[in-house]
């Protein structure tokens, strides 16, 4: 059994990201607690990717802070014990110039258990059985996205960040990924994902975060967010009228 998640809640306090004179995250205060997936929504350029990168420690804050269960973390790899428990699937994942199986193996390095078997399990989990020996960069966009998910899961994360994990997937693969997200979340892994698919947000999210122009427009439990949105932005976004 996995150890209980001790890193949560993940708290953003007045998080600001300014790059090239542009404010990308604007005083975001947000608490992500253990439990069902948190889904980030918002128009293109709202700051979803940036928020996930900040949480992974890949983009530094300009001001404000992030705490994990009350503790501040550098995020720069000095505390690898906690970092090892986080994984991300990028919106456009980079594939190592190796086979699909070797891409998973790379993330498994350090795991002592029989790796070949684990690789096969993970490939099967994301529906890539039989493609293990293919060069990863020759896989289709959707297959690469699924391989990236398998690679992230290989890390056995306690917190899994997914940046539009189904953006280029066909309906069957989208359903498969949603099933994986549910299964992973049921095992106690905290999933934080972004999506442009409101149906998906309704299906998966325990709580929904709406970002707009770098600001947190609304954060609430899923049914309330969609049924009784408090902010104008949320109302407009749900109606398909919110613009960048």
């Amino acid at each position: 059994m996995r150890a209980p998640v001790t890193d949560l809640p993940l708290v953003f306090e007045q998080a600001n990201v300014i790059a090239g004179g542009v404010t990308i995250l604007d005083h975001v205060s947000l608490t992500l607690s253990a439990g069902p997936p948190t889904v980030l929504i918002g128009p293109n350029g709202a700051g979803k990717t940036t928020l996930l990168r900040v949480a992974m420690g890949l983009t530094p804050l300009s001001s404000g802070r992030i705490t994990w269960n009350g503790q501040e973390r550098s995020g720069s790899g000095s505390d690898s014990a906690s970092k090892a428990r986080r994984a991300i699937v990028f919106q456009r994942p980079a594939m190592l110039r190796r086979s699909a199986a070797a891409n998973i193996d790379y993330a498994l390095a350090g795991v002592s258990a029989p790796r070949a078997q684990r690789i096969d399990e993970l490939l099967a989990l994301v529906g890539l059985s039989g493609l293990g020996s293919r060069p990863a960069r020759r896989l289709s966009g959707g297959e690469q996205q699924r391989l990236a998910l398998a690679r992230a899961l290989a890390r056995d994360p306690a917190i899994l960040f997914l940046d539009e994990p189904t953006a280029s997937l066909d309906p069957a693969a989208t359903k498969a990924i949603e099933d994986i997200v549910r299964a992973v979340a049921a095992r106690g892994v905290k999933v934080v994902m972004s999506t442009h698919d409101l149906g998906q947000a309704k299906r998966l999210a325990g709580d929904v975060v709406l970002l707009h122009r770098g600001r947190l427009a609304e954060h609430g439990p899923t049914p309330a967010f969609f049924d009784t949105p408090r902010s104008d932005e949320a109302r407009q976004f749900i109606a398909g009228e919110l613009l960048v």
């Binding site: 992974m56 420690g57 190592l96 190796r98 993330a107 060069p135 890390r155």
Partner: protein, 230 residues
Amino acid sequence: MAGETSAFQLVLAGDPGLYAIVWLSLVVSLSAVACAALIGVPFGAWLALTRFPGREGIIVVLNALMGLPPVVAGLAIYLLLSRSGPLGSFGLLFTPQAMVIAQTLLVTPIIAALARQTVEDLWAEYRDELAALDVRPFRRVATLVWDARFSLVTALLAGFGRAAAEVGAIIIVGGNIDGFTRTMTTAIALETSKGDLPLAIGLGMVLMAIVIAINALAWGARRAGEHYAG
């Protein structure tokens, strides 16, 4: 060399004088490429992955040194190794070792600059992924060099092509001594001026064959890279 012997006869008959020259050329240039690779690949990778003031300047100089005139490299090494030079006491001038040193000077910037470019491009692509996987610095470098291996082999072959084809550096520091420091290129220069065209042409043919073989290998490395890495 008998003037009436044709170039083809020399090459096909396996003329021992000719093949000794070919052998020495290969040994010198391959040794130089090996030395240059040991210096240039780590240096290039380091330059690709670190940021410090003056880095851009080093890259510009490195790129400029790719076009270092062989005679200038030869002159620099000559000054270093000549009896009154700082390394004169080793007595290396006019030896094959001196030729290896001169060609290493010539080839290292090529390999370092190409390695820097290759590793940096790959780093831009891998950076986030490796950071997210929390890869330690040593493994990071190993990963980048390994995944760039086919491009790096191409860089080594480019360096070898440069070394095998140059004459200016080795003729200055080697002295073109018959049976000791005479290589294909220096022999061609000498025999042509002496009028022994068959030997010059024979060596020229062998040299061309080697250059074509190098390019075929470089091509093959690129194709292999595409095949294995996608």
